[in-house]
Amino acid sequence: MITSETQSLAWQSESAPQPSDAPAIVVQNVAKCFKQYQHPSDRLKELLLPNTSKAQLFWALQDISLEIPRGQTLGIVGRNGSGKSTLLQIIVGTLTPTRGQVQVNGRVSALLELGSGFNPEFTGRQNVFFNGQLMGLSRRAITAKFDEIAAFADIGHFIDQPVKTYSSGMFVRLAFAVATSVDPDILIVDEALSVGDEAFQRKCFARIHAIRERGGTILFVSHAAPTIISLCDRAILLDRGEMLLSGTPKTIVAKYQRLIYAPPSQVNAVRKEIYQAKLAEAEKVPAATSPPGKRRSHDSDRDSSQDNSNGKGQGSVDSELASLESYDPNLIPSTTIAYITKGAKIHNPKITTLDGKVVNHLIARRSYIYTYTVEFLQPAQRIQFGMLVKTISGFELGGSAFPIAPELADEMTTGSRVMVQFRFQCLLQPGVYFLNAGVSGIIDGESLTHLARYIDVAMFRVYAADDGYGTGIVDLLIDPTCTIAPASAEDQP
């Protein structure tokens, strides 16, 4: 049981200096069992008189072993209830593992929940002092840091108002400012940053980066795949309390997303597949772990993959990207709506590569074909085919509606079928996107109307072609360069 050890860590500013090569965190065979009792008093009985258990066991964590070298940023992903928070709480020391050992070397600051030590009746200033003391700082040390904390939180005169008058944004700002002000050796962040506005999130990430640059170790839980990929050196995938996989953030995030989009009936199959991949991996020679401080954005495979903007081929496709371009049968929208079917039906919507291979995992900047077949249920004229790409939130990114080719008959008869193809270049940032499909035309001599309109007929995931300096949604094929600018008198600030 190490808890007392971990507990005291934040409380020992004079802790013995650890050898610099000792890992920041070592987790050995940690398991956590929550016991569910009919009545809470049964638990008391058991604690005082062991071997009289009436509990139902629930294993939140099973046999987790993990070694995090100093300076590494580790991402933890997993579905809800997979044990991420439990693991963090055990590392921090607020939970005691049922089995196993945790060793933490360095001062830990944990953002398990922002502002958990805040009292709404007191002013921001009072809460800063109180929280600082909770984290083991002396009043003098907090006084010295106070201006910096207030500047970071940037909430102006509200610092002297009771916290209950704060907006949730101000609350988060102050809490984050306090939590990171202790100069932690190890920072543990549990999805806390999803709150707060964009500008502040960026500020938080800047501070996290600063801690990283200083050689700090960071544990980071997030559902946001781009954040994990851009921030972390390594990632692990937790599921149902087990550590399914550990590897580069990119592969882990890909597997994780397979897992979350799997329909309930197939989850087990997907888990098994991931698990077997791990076993297969273990048989190979274990890859050397990248030294701390190495940043993913400087990986060497960047150059080789960058020139793939003109579709497949050219023989320079690295195998990692090739394996990403695939079809995941589980990546199908659950929100498909046949909005209108009035005279036509749309069959078989899909995305293929230029070679005709059906895919829904796409590589950015390559070209693909979105295709579907229209079956006309009654004669129609002046036909137009349409498509639309949308984000998860439904924002319409771009589409097309084009009239039927002139060489085809202007009027479709009942039962005739037309295959429609939209070739497009996937100029999107990594993420998940949805597709619409539609046909319009004139039936029964009425005015132009939708004959068929399907919302969310297909979805696809985009992977970055390189290590991704791009931001936002759309990839503008930006080609950044920089040179030393000559000094000029015309410079305006």
């Binding site: 500013s13 958990s116 007191f122 083991g136």
Partner: protein, 281 residues
């Protein structure tokens, strides 16, 4: 780093707590300050309230027992008068009220602050101590009133007042020990605070507070004074403040030993149950 250099530049005092202990102590101080502040937060009179509470109690007892019921009590050091019974009663109630208020609130100290237990790493041992310290500090205001009144009536401040910390020692240790016990049990058994109210009520009448110890029938008297540490504490308060002379050394020593045992036992149970707190809350 800054702290350390500062420490070196300072002359070394004869006694110095190790730094973790210093931090813990200053955190306890902050916690108690917050607790006291939060209690009267937003009220205009603020920290005058505990003083007014104690004062009003004293006035009520004087009215009921000295003016209406005219209970007489002879105290060696006091001028014979009607007020002595109310002072005597007040002297007994001071430690009792501090003890029960602290105990009842410390029972809830963990369950009302699950955030501090589950999400923040800090010395959890301090939590049950906070309401006990707050209640004690509030009772000190009453004690100050009492001492001033007695001094005013007898035109003399007796030197035995310096021995008051002797009464506080068993009082605080006993409160803390029982506080640890009830706080940790309440996490698992939410009935504890309710049952405590009942127990405390019974205990009140088993302690010679509203009646003098010598009116207890002789075969019982011994048992009450020796086995009820609160009885010894109450008697010590009265000895020191009203009589001006310690008359219950034996009982006091025994109560102190009991209090130390309770403290160690309570702390042991608390430490043993502590790992499970976060699982349950």
């Amino acid at each position: 780093m800054q702290e350390r250099s500062h420490k070196l530049s300072r002359r070394k005092p004869w006694f110095r707590l190790s730094q973790p202990w210093q931090l813990k102590l200053s955190l306890l101080k902050t916690l108690v300050q917050r607790d006291l502040e939060a209690r009267y937060k937003g009220s205009i009179l603020g920290n005058l309230w505990p003083l007014l509470n104690q004062l009003s109690q004293l006035l009520i007892y004087t009215y009921v027992f000295s003016i209406v019921l005219q209970v007489k009590l002879d105290l060696a050091s006091m001028p014979n008068g009607n007020v002595s019974f109310s002072l005597w009663l007040f002297a007994g109630l001071l430690p009792w009220n501090a003890f029960t208020a602290g105990l009842l609130q410390s029972a809830n100290s963990l369950v009302t602050q699950p955030n501090l237990v589950k999400k923040v790493v800090f010395p959890l041992r301090l939590l049950p101590l906070v309401p006990i310290c707050s209640a004690f500090i509030e009772s000190l205001m009453g004690l100050a009133i009492l001492v001033l009144l007695v001094g005013f009536l007898s035109q003399d401040l007796n030197p035995a007042l310096w021995l008051l910390p002797l009464a506080w020692l068993p009082q605080l240790l006993l409160s803390a020990g029982l506080g640890y016990l009830v706080a940790s049990f309440t996490v698992f058994l939410r009935d504890i605070p309710q049952s405590l109210v009942v127990i405390v009520n019974l205990w009140f009448y088993l302690t010679p507070i509203v009646y003098p110890a010598h009116v207890i029938p002789p075969p019982w008297q011994h048992w009450v004074l020796w086995l009820n540490p609160l009885a010894a504490i109450v008697e010590t308060y009265r000895d020191l403040v009203l009589v001006g002379e310690m008359q219950h050394w034996g009982e006091w020593a025994f109560a102190t030993v009991l209090a130390i045992l309770f403290f160690l036992g309570g702390l042991w149970v608390y430490q043993r149950l502590r790992p499970a707190f976060a699982d349950v809350l």
